[in-house]
Symmetry: C2
Subunit: 430 residues, 2 copies
Amino acid sequence: MTGTVRIGVAGLGTVGASLIELLARHETTITARAGQRLVVTAVSARDRSRDRGIDLSGMTWFDDARDLATAGNVDVVVELMGGSEGPARDLVTNALKNGRPVVTANKALLAEHGNELGVLAEEHGVALGYEAAVAGGIPIIKALKEGLAGNDIQRVYGILNGTCNFILSEMRSTGRDFADVLAEAQALGYAEADPTFDVEGIDAAHKLALLSAIAFGQQVDFSRVTVEGISTISPIDIAYADEFGFRLKLLGVAERIGDTVTERVHPFLVSLDDPISKVEGVNNAVVVEGDFVGRTVLEGPGAGGGATASAVASDLIDVATGRFSPVFGIPASALRARQDGGSDEPHGRFYISLKVEDRPGVIADLAAVLRDHAISIESLLQRGKPEGGTAPIVVICHDAPESRVLAALKQIEGMDCILQNPHMIRIKDL
Amino acid sequence: MTGTVRIGVAGLGTVGASLIELLARHETTITARAGQRLVVTAVSARDRSRDRGIDLSGMTWFDDARDLATAGNVDVVVELMGGSEGPARDLVTNALKNGRPVVTANKALLAEHGNELGVLAEEHGVALGYEAAVAGGIPIIKALKEGLAGNDIQRVYGILNGTCNFILSEMRSTGRDFADVLAEAQALGYAEADPTFDVEGIDAAHKLALLSAIAFGQQVDFSRVTVEGISTISPIDIAYADEFGFRLKLLGVAERIGDTVTERVHPFLVSLDDPISKVEGVNNAVVVEGDFVGRTVLEGPGAGGGATASAVASDLIDVATGRFSPVFGIPASALRARQDGGSDEPHGRFYISLKVEDRPGVIADLAAVLRDHAISIESLLQRGKPEGGTAPIVVICHDAPESRVLAALKQIEGMDCILQNPHMIRIKDL
């Protein structure tokens, strides 16, 4: 006889509605895969009267999502409200305390409170699934926690925010500027009314913090992720990137450098040899580099109701079969605290664009500053006769430690000939 | 207190040696991830005296691998011998009968006997893991069985044989012919002395049969996979593919067409819009199209000791944690028998190259045959003045059912003007 897993869903936006549709449409196959029936028995959302195009009959309505943590007809809680505090945090915390497995798509909650929630889940011996929190439908959490668990991971990086990737793809294909394309993305529903979390890299940083915790067996520490977004990217940077054989992408990169793990989100110029350079539009892609497996790439839809519901359903099936691993792959007690940075630091090639006065000696002065910081110039481009006496210059430096480049840029900013502060973009070589 | 899982490894080639190295090097992290120590306690291989560069001290040697099925100091059997019959089959069968979990990289064994082995594993409530059997280190079995389990899969396809992909990549970049590049692949260790399984598509077909069983919830039936290899591919086909904006790839494609599932391995011209068109060299890539998730791509090393050992280790960790799913994702009793083909059949665009006499009326005759089979010509290329009065012609047809194209080709083969039988290659559109 087949048992039933009773699911309480908090949040009925596009993901919640897609999940209910998915579970209904695939009832037979999911029962076969899960070994039990998965039935949504309770729901909660802000507005009870809204027509979501799904049949909510037979489901108990809760005005306060937090009640799902203790509701009598719920075995598993699905949290799709979002937000790192407030009702979402209360619901997840109380459900776990109540010995109730939780499946969530909430990257902010886990990036901020993942350690304590992981301990709670472990103490109560229940699953806390969050496949849907990172890279939408791509099963990257499972791949890192289980599929690639035999490896020592050197680096995990990727395109983790579909909104930014859409904007950068559009800027490149149309030559339009950031603000213009952002407005289009908002009109298309790819960007929120307040786009800060996406375009300033915070959303990608939340996801990166989770990937990094799993890959490197360390506690989540979102506050230590360096975060830079794409709002300062200009069409000219994208055009130059093209010219030098790169694609400009917002990447989250977590890597072992010496004894420490560095986590950062920046716009990067990605070499065309890197498979993720070709990932366009709202897609996400994650690259995992393991010592035995080599380089593995997972690509797919990074957002959207269907893809995210697919990830939630996969976690629910795991819960139903009793097949789950610790929240970050190893027991919470074994996760290392984040190390302070050692003497090693990120290094690489760098792209620098600046506007300078068009007069003799300017390039000599710039080159001297770079030389004084032991930074070697790989390419330098100054083209044509600019209007109004200003000359845009683009420099690509050979591999150098980031701190030296930043010091050189600081000095350049103070030079008289500089009409617009230099814009530095990191180059992501394979 | 941490328990110990005692592992018996049958087969100490590059994968077996890599696995022993992996388990030794990552003992601490794997113990944390598995919740138990994974220790190789017994091994078996053909030649005891060979130096494999690994420390076998403390491991019991068995001359007959089949003894690992019942050996007293073994909890889990890892089968890395290969071959669908003989000792590998005996060992896996007897281990399962003995209630012992099995992890294998043996695609031939599972493609031929997966149904009965799946039933055995289920009867005895133990895992039969084969992540390493398909696409090397890419965790595609786990992704299909678990990570994308919420979806109805419409199609799964990919580059499943690294040897063929290497050969095709080399043929393209150097213009050399098949035999020449095959010899190089053999010298590099990318191809076996007898390359039949790889270059004739059999290895890819084994893997496809496994992916298809999981994706479509049906019994494995290798005998129903249509198999074509790459030995008939000429440099001119690859050059024309380039010219028309395609890459030539050996693909395994399993898809739902009407009520039935079609499984086939063929060389395909892949549109450059398809992410797997850019997968070069020995890499593998698998595309999964699900109704909720959309299109997901997993890419990585398809072979090699390290990548395959990574996949074996992941299965072993799952075994240690007790985290496993039925062999093909759903209980063996629920797997559907393969349906006979319905009235629907594969269709698509086709590339046809042929050599004809260079005289008036030939193209008119050819075009008439295609017209008579209701096949519409999209592009036709006849270039320059050929030497010796023969004219190579390339035709690309609009979307048409495969049977109509095959019938037309049969008629064309009988025409007087044909100097060399037409060579047809399927086009894989997105």
